[in-house]
């Protein structure tokens, strides 16, 4: 996508019970990008929406918790409807360094989906062994399916062009874990995909989307099935 002189950027941040630091993260992001910040509050029980508004964000609230992917998609649909040129998405927990936003947006000049990779040029990000193994495995499969190297399939730090937003707004977009399979679909649909190195900030203690015992098992099943189905489906843009 060729960005126009003054592209309208929408920053999308899905948030579930992030009241503690959402305001600080929104303010940090607003310091880096000229554009609106949309926080999608995915049915939080705490004051996430109030805190996000204090930080200067527009807030879209799901009355019920739908999942990470669905929250992202709400952001994509909002962006399309309000005529934004591109979306920059990042997590609300403050792990994604706002300083990495400009290079992500810059890479949109020659790509439709720019993924911020935490593994390119020897970063400090070292997930636990089992998770690293899973990321490597699914990353390899996604790379094979898409015909290009994907080093960080689970990264939620991305820049997305308007063309790709149309692709993402379809109901094929998964509600729970949109990662390796979505990237493989993107590349196979003819949209241009690229990775840019990003920096991670130390993650806040506690919660992870992949915590617990059953969730990782379900994730492995879910992602294997989704990746298996990718070559069996023909996705139209």
């Amino acid at each position: 996508m060729i960005l126009s002189e003054n592209p309208r950027i929408l920053v999308v941040m899905p948030a579930f019970n992030e009241a503690r630091q959402i305001r600080r993260v929104v303010e940090a992001v607003r310091g880096q990008v000229e554009g609106d910040v949309l926080v999608v509050d995915d049915g939080s029980a705490d004051d996430t929406a109030v805190e996000a508004r204090r930080g200067g964000a527009i807030v879209a609230t799901h009355p019920v918790n739908l999942g990470y992917g669905a929250a992202l998609q709400t952001g994509y649909r909002y962006a399309l409807r309000r005529g934004y040129d591109a979306v920059l998405q990042l997590d609300a927990d403050g792990q994604h360094d706002p300083a990495s936003i400009p290079p992500l947006l810059g890479a949109l000049a020659h790509a439709d989906v720019v993924v911020g990779s935490r593994f390119l040029d020897g970063s400090s990000y070292r997930p636990p062994l089992l998770r690293r193994l899973g990321m490597w495995l699914f990353g390899s499969v996604a790379s094979a399916l898409s015909g290009q190297r994907i080093t960080d399939p689970t990264s939620g730090f991305q820049a997305i062009s308007r063309e790709a937003l149309h692709f993402y707004s379809h109901e094929r977009y998964p509600v729970d874990y949109p990662d390796a399979d979505v990237l493989a679909m993107v590349a196979r649909s003819g949209l241009r995909l690229t990775e840019v190195p990003v920096r991670m900030l130390p993650s806040p203690p506690g919660k992870s989307m992949h915590g617990g015992f059953l969730k990782p098992l379900y994730y492995v099943f879910r992602m294997s099935l989704a990746l298996f189905l990718v070559p069996l489906r023909s996705e139209k843009r």
Partner: protein
């Protein structure tokens, strides 16, 4: 062969089940579009309970030893089909709920955005507003 008691009991169960299903549909507790498999199942039960010869024929055809096995197999297959059908219905409902929730979130965000813009327009002096936009 079936005893008379068995025959009557099987028919009674089928008739009552069919009656319950039809009554649920009539009172709109069960929507017509989801009742298809249930009506087929209960009609099948009724036919099999009346016409024992069909059960014996199906037993020979499927290679089962006793007619009871045939009945159990058919019962299981129908239950399986019905639960798969439910899963597809559930998937559709999930998709619809997601669409609705997202739509609601987007509309409320747009409303809030419009409201804050309107408030800024009235509170901030016009010169600064023009600069900002």
């Amino acid at each position: 062969m079936m005893t008379a008691n068995q025959h009557v009991f099987a028919m009674a169960v089928s008739v009552v089940t069919l009656g319950v299903i039809l009554e649920l549909i009539r009172r709109r507790k069960l929507r017509e579009e989801y009742s298809f498999l249930w009506v087929i199942t209960t009609l099948g039960m009724l036919v099999l309970s009346i016409w024992y010869g069909l059960v014996e024929w199906l037993t020979r055809l499927s290679g089962a030893v006793t007619p009871t096995t045939t009945l159990f197999i058919f019962g299981l297959v129908f239950l399986l089909l019905i639960s798969v059908h439910f899963s597809t219905v559930l998937s559709r409902l999930t998709e619809q709920v997601r669409r609705l929730t997202q739509e609601l979130a987007i509309l409320s965000a747009e409303r809030d955005d419009a409201r804050t813009r309107a408030e800024n327009r009235t509170s901030v002096d016009p010169g600064r507003e023009r600069e900002a936009s």
